[in-house]
């Protein structure tokens, strides 16, 4: 059996070249200035200084975070009741509902967002609302499915026990169902918040170009301006922000589980 061990070596080389090196290149670009040869690398933090000194960039970063946070909250508020109702249907109807929710997800995200553009074209809604509709539309299924999974795994006898012990239906929900579905909510947050921070085609398609997010900024610096060093610095900042927020979400979950 040990002879199969060797089968991993080619992939280790592959992953090193195609996954690790590209990431390192972003870091190198972020810390250097334009027009550098590989031989004469000169490290600088100028790109980061430029980002944090400019009000506009900070505003875009904050706007992206707020958009992602609000999108996530809306998805929880709309998605939780939906998941809860699905979990209480008959088993057959449950699987049909799950299939019905998954089906649109198989259709290209861009195609669906394009359709929303047509629907919202002449509604006269402000750009920001249009972007929110597009974001919630794209990410809501993930939230519903995650919460539904954690709800359907729940042991029904727990609910009966809670009722027997004198909980009314509201207490059963707040003391038993809700705490047990927190892991589902947390993984839902991961699946919604992460891509929402960095999304750039939803705001571009629905916001009509005037609604700039951090993802659009990165796209601009890579595709239009061609300032790859600054673009790399922005994406590094974004990655750090995302990692930090994920760390706090996970920590919150961990602390809660441990009763802190």
């Amino acid at each position: 059996m040990k002879s199969f061990r060797r089968l991993i070596y080619p992939y280790m080389v592959w992953a090193g070249i195609f996954i690790v090196i590209p990431m390192l290149m972003i870091v190198i670009y972020a810390f250097t200035k334009e027009g550098n040869d590989t031989m004469t690398l000169q490290f600088t933090i100028e790109n980061f200084v430029r980002f944090f000194e400019d009000q506009i960039f900070i505003q875009v970063l904050i706007r992206s975070l707020i958009l992602a946070i609000i999108t996530t909250i809306i998805c929880i508020l709309i998605g939780y009741p939906a998941a809860y109702f699905i979990a209480r249907l008959k088993p057959n109807s449950q699987s049909i509902m799950v299939l019905l929710i998954t089906l649109p997800m198989w259709i290209n995200m861009l195609v669906r967002t394009y359709a929303w553009r047509g629907i919202l074209l002449e509604t006269g809604l402000p750009e920001e609302i249009k972007v929110y509709i597009g974001m919630v539309y794209n990410f809501l299924p993930f939230m519903i499915l995650q919460i539904y999974t954690s709800l359907s795994k729940m042991d029904p006898s727990l609910l009966v026990a809670a009722q027997d012990l004198g909980c009314n239906s509201r207490q059963v929900f707040t003391k038993v169902i809700l705490p047990l579905s927190v892991p589902g909510i947390i993984s839902g947050i991961t699946l919604v918040f992460l891509p929402a921070v960095s999304s750039f085609f939803i705001p571009k398609l629905l916001g009509g170009g005037s609604y700039v997010l951090i993802g659009n900024l990165i796209e601009n610096y890579f595709v239009t301006t061609g300032d790859w060093n600054f673009g790399s610095a922005i994406s590094l900042i974004m990655t750090v922000v995302i990692l930090l927020s994920m760390y706090f979400t996970k920590k919150f979950d961990y602390d809660k589980e441990n009763g802190k």
Partner: protein, 265 residues
Amino acid sequence: MKKKQYFSKSYLLLIMAFFYLPIVYVVFFSFNDSKSLTNFTGFSFRWYEQMFANRTMMESIYYSVVIAVLATIISTIVGTVAAIGLSRSKRLIKETVSQVNNLSMLNPEIVTAIGLMLFFTSLNIPFGFWTLLLAHIIFCIPYVMLSITPKLRQLDENLAEAALDLGCTPFQALIKVIIPQIMPGIVSGALIAFTMSFDDFVISYFVTGPGINNISTYVYSSVKRINPSVNALSTIIVVAITLVLIIVNVVPLIRERKKKNETNY
């Protein structure tokens, strides 16, 4: 109690209406007679004709399919071999490789995309079909490995050992004993790879070159003008995917029923 049920059913109905509204909308307006996206003036196949006459559009469908098929085949083979190797590796290697794979899967797509863009540029590889294909293979493999690894964990090690004792070469043991047992994982990995590749926009957008578009990058580039033949294209995708999903979900049901009938005799 009745009232509550009524409420929950109408709530779910509303959610479904929200999910299906844009799909119904594209299908409906793909048959519109005029260019308008808000007024339905009459029924016609005009946009379908235009779609089939539009070379860039047809090419984008072609590239989406070809890239997805090739990326699926290659990433499934490489991913299967790597996952088997990984399951037998020492802990340190196991953890390092899984961490790197996680990095690839959890990274925001746009970061993976610009990483590959910088990488290809620094090697002077011209952007186009090959960079697009390579990028798709790169991001698909970790997902294939992820879906095979649990199956490998359930595998009985003694079986491969027995095959070797009975005179199989390691290669034969791999093909005849290990692969058949992890087949469900391989199939679901391949399915994930196909959909990831077929749907991908962000990574494709950054690593593709002039003249090479998949459906997503084509839709993105044509969004500045109103182009109702995109609705026709979307409708065809919707119909194709619905058919595939129906077949995938209904065929096992029919088979099960047949089996039941057979056992009844």
